[in-house]
Amino acid sequence: MAVQPKKTGYIVLGLAALLVLALCLCGCTQAPASAEKTPTPAAAGGIQSLSVTGSTTVLPIAQSAAEDYMDAHSNVDIKVSGGGSGVGVQAIGEGTTDIGMSSRELTTEETTKYPNLVVTTVAGDGIAVIVNPANTVNSLTLDQIKAIYQANITNWKEVGGPDETIVLIGRDSASGTRSFFTEMVLKKENAAPTMLEQNSNGGVLLSVGQTPGAIGYISIGYLTDSVKALDLDANGNKIEPTVANVKSGQYPISRPLLMITQGAPQGLAKDYLDYIQSPEGQAIVAEEGYVSLT
């Protein structure tokens, strides 16, 4: 057998890895002090970075605004990730991100655990009830939607549609959109356990678009031609889930979308939030299909 002197590399590697591990295991205290992370221009050759994490409903706004902001400021890197409202609140509370996103108000548990969180409203949002485009039903009352989601109505023909079994599609139980829908439409009662659960707006959209008998609910920012948004029937008035109707307060199922910081926003985070609240930023909000603040 030929002997290759290369093999010493293994020992070095092994020792190095052990060292790293040992450091990781004992060096809990040396973890990055992230609570007061302010982007330093010195880091990464002058590139300032900002991380934004949380709700999938707010994500399109954050992402588009970040892309435009980065086009204007070439030395800035904004990382946007989903995960959900709970992750957003937790990440900002623990200081592992610079800005958290949430599509629901903070829970009392969260505010007691992280007392110094500051909430900035960046947009408004309506929740549209959607069906497959093949469905002939165009409008439902809030009571009908509630009955459908509690499986008291199980066939579309009971509400004037085709003879087709209703497939309930909703969000996972940790979702901000779901807790809001439960509060507003189901009056805090439980949905039927037969509801299929998707863990994002896009997932609900995809399933409803694929399934002829489906009903679902998503943020109006996600509406596309692949589904049909139902009008809300309030005493014979048919109210479309449009941005204008949400703004005027006619469409009732609406909520604010939030970005959260530790204390008042500062530095790059403040600049970015200001940008979203500026006319250009609000134009992006409108473009993504959400309700602008102004």
Partner: protein, 652 residues
């Protein structure tokens, strides 16, 4: 260091110290797996404890309703446990007959040239990442089920079982094939010599002889199916109900792993719901560990009865086994039943009503006609079924690959590979995701390779079989059977929250490293065991120290085996989504990460988000899937080629 003839006493002392230091380092590496599994348990229990305290463990696992944000919140996971078991049983019903049929075909019937193609093809099937299966299931399979069976939605138990069945196939086929190939030739020759035909030999001598290995293969495949997350959560609909009636495969279901996958991301940290999810993880871990311990028990029994076999194969721990205790006598004619099950499954796919009648017919027919049919006809029928099973496997593989390649290739441009994503990944490229995946994988290997090789060196070179090695091996096996989502949860609880790393590259690397560690330990051990004892003794006799012997004599010839193990681990780590879901990834970034404490993009996660979160991203979904598939398959191909070459050329 050079090997000198007669070292001076002082040098002896120095050497002695060095040897002991090295030995303790290797021992630490070996015991590391045990420490990790212990840590995982402690952390999951720690975070699950409040829910057990509030709800009570018994009520938690027997409660009929899972609605953590309901009014009042309900934390009952009985439906989740039942659904997890159902989807696994369904998967096994699909993969056992197909898997064993294919294994028999490959080892007994395939012409050499066909075998050379089919075997690597099936190994490649093992390389397809879970999230790619899930994506295919979501986009193609669920729609097909909805239309074919005329049900309201295709997101069903059946969809989950079909995917999991396909995913468990490679494990079942390759392990069974090893077991069958290891039945001593003399048995086969003896059987043929006394006038049995080929089929009688296969069904009454070879398969029963390999049955314990096949059993182990089935249990390993089952473990894989139980712990699978991404594919299942994308296609089963995630409704927490028990199908009614219980055998209604067209009902939506929700598994334990799926629950963790969809809810962990949005849950408020520290809430009761959060603790309940850790409770789910604890139950999942218990189930998988139970399955693994049973598998270990069976394999242990086999090892005790192990006989030296005619064939030396340098492949895996389930080496050639013979069980002659006779407890399998009753299932001597097991294969026709497998054929029947296969046929039933097929019929079920075409018409449900006819399936039951057909089952009775076929089973009854086989049971009675065995006595009357000529053995030649039986052999013909059996071989046709076996050929059919391998054809089905290859066709399924072909369909999945064709779908992804044909739709993905359209958008595959140089720009797509070298640009950052834009517009939520609907436009632009995936360059940061490719780089992020590479970073994650390389970091994981840099951590796990030294540890794994060290552990294997300790186990094979420094100790005799005893209590300590048993504990270490059990630890490694348990780690091997831990579902990837549990690693993800542990990484989240321990690295991200407790050590306060945040969602970062390093957290993902460590989590992935822990996940692939058992694979590296096992493959390295096999490689080291393949080195004959005589050359170790020769080296020691010439005055080399233990460490010199290991470094210069034992490790070099074992290198190809070690490298193969490392490459397979790289492939697995590159395709995994669940472990990095909560520990390392972000959806998009324009620049590459500059430190270990920054999050990264990764291909599997990018595909998952594009498929489930971003509307109108079909084109880029398919192309991302294609890039991920090509990356992982390229990695696996290298491993297969190396191993193949090495099996051919190594002669002692």
């Amino acid at each position: 260091m050079s090997v000198t003839g007669a070292p001076s006493p002082a040098k002896w002392n120095g050497m002695h110290i060095k040897e002991s230091i090295l030995k303790s380092i290797w021992f630490f590496c070996a015991i590391f797996a045990v420490i990790v599994i212990f840590f995982i348990f402690v952390f999951l229990f720690w975070d699950a404890y409040p829910i057990f305290l509030q709800v009570g463990f018994w009520d938690f696992i027997t409660g009929m309703s899972w609605n953590p944000t309901g009014n009042p919140p309900m934390y009952g996971i009985f439906p989740l446990i039942v659904d997890t078991l159902l989807v696994t049983i369904g998967a096994m019903a699909i993969s056992i007959p197909l898997g064993i049929g294919s294994a028999i075909y490959i080892s007994e019937l395939a012409p050499a040239r066909v075998k050379a193609v089919v075997k690597p093809a099936i190994e490649l099937l093992a390389g397809i990442p879970s999230v790619v299966f899930g994506f295919f299931g979501l986009v193609v399979l669920t729609d097909w089920i909805r239309v074919t069976f005329d049900v309201p939605t295709g997101q069903t138990w059946l969809a989950g079982s079909l995917l999991l069945g396909i995913m468990a196939l490679p494990t079942i086929i390759s392990v069974s094939e090893d077991a069958i190939a290891c039945v001593p030739r003399e048995y086969k020759e003896g059987s043929l010599a006394v006038g049995a035909n080929h089929w009688q030999t296969i069904s009454r001598v070879i398969v029963p002889g390999a049955l314990s290995g096949i059993t182990a293969a089935i249990i390993l495949g089952m473990g894989r199916a139980l712990g699978e997350t991404m594919a299942v959560l994308m296609v089963t609909g995630n409704a927490a109900i028990i199908p009614s009636p219980l055998w209604n495969m067209l009902s939506p279901i929700r598994t334990l792993t799926g629950t963790l996958g969809i809810e962990m991301g949005e849950v408020a940290i520290g809430s009761m719901h959060f603790h309940a999810l850790f409770g789910v993880a604890v139950v999942l871990l218990m189930i998988t560990l139970g399955v693994n311990l049973i598998a270990r028990g069976i394999l242990g029994r086999i090892r005790e009865k192990q006989m030296p076999s005619g064939k030396k194969r340098n492949k895996n721990a389930l080496s050639c086994a013979m069980d002659r205790s006779g407890w399998l006598g009753g299932v001597r004619n097991v294969t026709p039943w497998i054929g029947a099950a296969l046929l039933t499954g097929l019929m079920f796919l075409f018409s449900r009503a006819g399936a039951a009648m057909l089952t009775v017919g076929v089973v009854g027919g086989i049971a009675t006609s065995r006595k009357r049919l000529s053995s030649r006809l039986v052999q013909k029928i059996a071989f046709a079924l076996i050929a059919l099973s391998i054809i089905i496997v290859l066709v399924v593989l072909g369909i999945i690959l064709w779908d992804i390649i044909s739709k993905g290739i359209v958008n595959l441009t140089w720009d797509f590979l070298t640009q950052s994503p834009r517009d939520l990944g609907r436009a632009g490229g995936i360059f940061p995701a490719i780089v992020g995946t590479l970073y994650l994988v390389l970091g994981a290997i840099a951590i796990s390779l030294p540890l794994g090789v060290g552990a294997a060196v300790y186990l094979t070179e420094y100790t005799r079989e005893g209590t300590i090695t048993r504990i270490i091996r059990t630890g490694a096996d348990l780690l091997n059977g831990t579902p990837s989502i549990v690693f993800g949860l542990f990484g989240f609880a321990f690295l991200v929250l407790y050590l306060n790393f945040g969602v970062s590259l390093i957290a993902g690397q460590i989590t992935l490293a822990l996940m692939v560690l058992p694979t590296i330990i096992r493959t390295t051990e096999e490689a080291l065991k393949g080195v004959p004892h005589a050359i170790r003794e020769g080296s020691l006799a010439l005055g080399a120290t233990k460490w010199q012997t290991i470094r210069r004599v034992v490790i070099p010839p074992a290198m190809p085996g070690i490298i193969t193990g490392a490459i397979l681990s790289i492939g697995r780590a590159a395709g995994e989504t669940a472990p990095i879901l909560f520990t390392a990834v972000v959806f998009s970034q324009r620049f590459l990460p500059t430190s270990l404490f920054e999050p990264v993009m990764a291909l599997p996660y990018h595909l998952y988000i594009l498929a489930t979160n971003v509307p109108n991203a079909q084109a880029n979904q398919y192309t991302t899937a294609l890039v991920l598939l090509m990356l992982v398959i390229a990695i696996y191909s290298v491993a297969i080629v190396i191993r193949h070459h090495y099996q051919k050329t190594l002669r002692w």
